[in-house]
């Protein structure tokens, strides 16, 4: 379904340039749920934007169903890290937006949007505006909106990054349910180990800048899962395994950021 082949991306900056990704390869086969985890600044969002076709000028190839990505691919749906619901539309109108743009007749698009809102657990909030909802509800609205686009590959960039741990675990249940119902091929970018292990079939650990694939951890926890799995010994073992790989990268990231601070101060 998705093949990322030897991708390298450099950004030109005032002090020479940053290599955000270096020789990164990864594969997501149909129906799978893959999580990419890495410390802040390791190039996760860059990868997300490259696969989504929003960033150009990189080396290597990105293939979707064997086709090289050139601009935004019809079969890719993106859920952004930032707050991205349209504040001028109601929840229902937000979700119906991609259908509206595609010219789907009103009755049909509203019906489909309603079904999707039900799927993400927002039944009864159809006529609310984003400002009236909590952050978690807004992100679920954004997920439902992207699902309405009917992507074959769902990309999510830290969709729950700004939320607290409990909310995130419970939203994870919703994501699992969506995945179960739609069998949607999903690439989730996250910095949360529990989230990655709770949701994914495979966890890809990225190195700190330049980002490349450090290790692939298979999560063979049985499905269907829910957030109760967090307390199982198997879950604990997997979290520890991911952390042992991630730890070195996270501390490199932290040192890097701290040394920049020092330079700025001195």
């Amino acid at each position: 379904m998705l093949v990322v082949d030897n991708v390298t991306k450099r950004f030109a900056t005032a002090d020479g340039g940053v290599t955000a990704l270096e020789n990164l390869s990864l594969e997501v086969s149909k129906g799978r749920f893959v999580a990419v985890i890495g410390p802040s600044g390791c190039g996760k969002s860059t990868l997300f934007n490259i696969i989504g076709g929003l960033v150009e000028g990189y080396e290597g190839r990105v293939l979707i169903d064997g086709q090289p990505v050139d601009g935004v691919h019809r079969d890719v749906g993106m859920v952004f890290q930032e707050e991205s619901t349209f504040p001028w539309l109601t929840t229902l109108e937000n979700v119906a937006f991609p259908l509206d743009v595609a010219g789907v007749p009103k009755a049909e698009r509203l019906e489909r949007a309603r079904a999707l809102l039900r799927l993400v657990g927002l039944e009864g909030f159809e006529s609310r505006y984003p400002a009236e909802l909590s952050g978690g509800m807004r992100q679920r609205t954004a997920i439902a909106r992207t699902l309405a686009f009917q992507p074959k590959l769902l990309l999510m960039d830290e969709p729950f990054g700004a939320l607290d741990e409990q909310t995130r675990l419970l939203l994870g249940d919703q994501v699992l349910r969506i995945h179960r119902e739609l069998q949607q091929t999903t690439l989730l970018i996250t910095h949360s180990i529990t989230e990655a292990v709770q949701l994914a079939d495979e966890v890809v650990v990225m190195t700190y800048r330049p980002g490349c694939l450090k290790r692939l951890v298979r999560v063979d926890l049985p499905r269907p899962r829910d957030s109760a799995i967090v307390s199982s010994p198997e879950f604990g073992r997997l979290v520890a395994e991911v952390w042992s790989d991630l730890r070195a990268e996270a501390s490199r990231g932290m040192q890097d950021i701290e040394s920049h601070r020092k330079e700025e101060i001195s």
């Binding site: 989504g52 929003l54 935004v72 890719v76 349209f86 504040p87 001028w88 743009v101 505006y129 009236e132």
Partner: protein
């Protein structure tokens, strides 16, 4: 005290001061006529058919000029705000011309479209264009970039991007633009009418002035003032109502 009460008090104070000056004889009676005279002239004017003919001409010039200037300014502002190269290329010239009073273009406009209603309309459009274009371009740069990326991820066309993302994201600024454009279109049209015309409220005011009918002149000014303030508050009321609907 509520803002509306303060405003009312200010108005009463100004009128009282006016009347005091008028009666004291400090200034020529003819230049500062008493309120009673102005009110009488105003009422008389309201019942004259000619007044409404002139009013209609000016309203048409302002309305059509504003509509043209607003739409062109909007399109231009969107283009300048979203296309960095275009924006950088034209911004200094637009900013430069924007500061010039548009009445200086009247001779050129008259050479192009004649001295009739078209020239007033064009001057209204020209006056409205610049504030709308500049305000729109500036607000486009304030639009949350993630909303633009959402639009791109849904593969919106350029036109859909403008109408489905930028225009709604810019709604408060669109109303501000309309108010700015309206104010300047009124000024542009009236100035052009005063300069050279045979119809419109500007022409009427100029006629009164030339024949030294000062009270009638003030009556025309009061009419313009009342209509302009009324329309302006209507527009801001509309903006507030729509904002509430979104944010409540």
């Amino acid at each position: 005290m509520a803002a509306s009460q303060i405003r009312l008090l200010t108005l009463v104070a100004i009128l009282a001061a006016w009347e005091l000056v008028a009666r004291s004889g400090l200034l020529y009676q003819e230049v500062v006529p008493s309120l009673l005279k102005i009110a009488a002239a105003f009422v008389r004017m309201l019942f004259e058919k000619d007044t409404w003919r002139h009013f209609g001409v000016t309203a048409w010039e302002v309305g059509a000029g504003l509509a043209a200037g607003y739409l062109l300014g909007l399109a231009f502002g969107l283009a300048a705000g979203t296309r960095r190269f275009f924006g950088a290329a034209v911004a200094p010239y637009v900013d430069g011309v924007a500061t010039a009073p548009k009445i200086v273009f009247l001779p050129i406009v008259m050479l192009l479209v004649g001295t009739g209603i078209g020239s007033k309309l064009a001057l209204g459009a020209l006056s409205a264009f610049f504030p709308v274009a500049i305000n729109t371009a500036a607000s486009v740069r304030q639009v949350d970039p993630v909303l633009v990326r959402v639009g791109r991820s849904f593969r919106l066309s350029r036109w859909q991007m403008a109408t489905r993302i930028y225009v709604p994201a810019l709604r408060p600024s669109l109303v501000t633009s309309l108010r700015l454009g309206f104010g300047l279109a009124v000024v542009g049209v009236l100035l052009a009418e005063i300069k050279l015309s045979n119809a419109g409220l500007g022409f009427l005011a100029n006629e009164h002035y030339s024949n030294f009918r000062v009270a009638d002149l003030y009556a025309v000014l009061v009419l313009i003032f009342v209509v302009a303030v009324g329309l302006n508050s209507l527009m801001s009321r509309f903006a507030e109502r729509r904002n509430q609907r979104i944010c409540s």
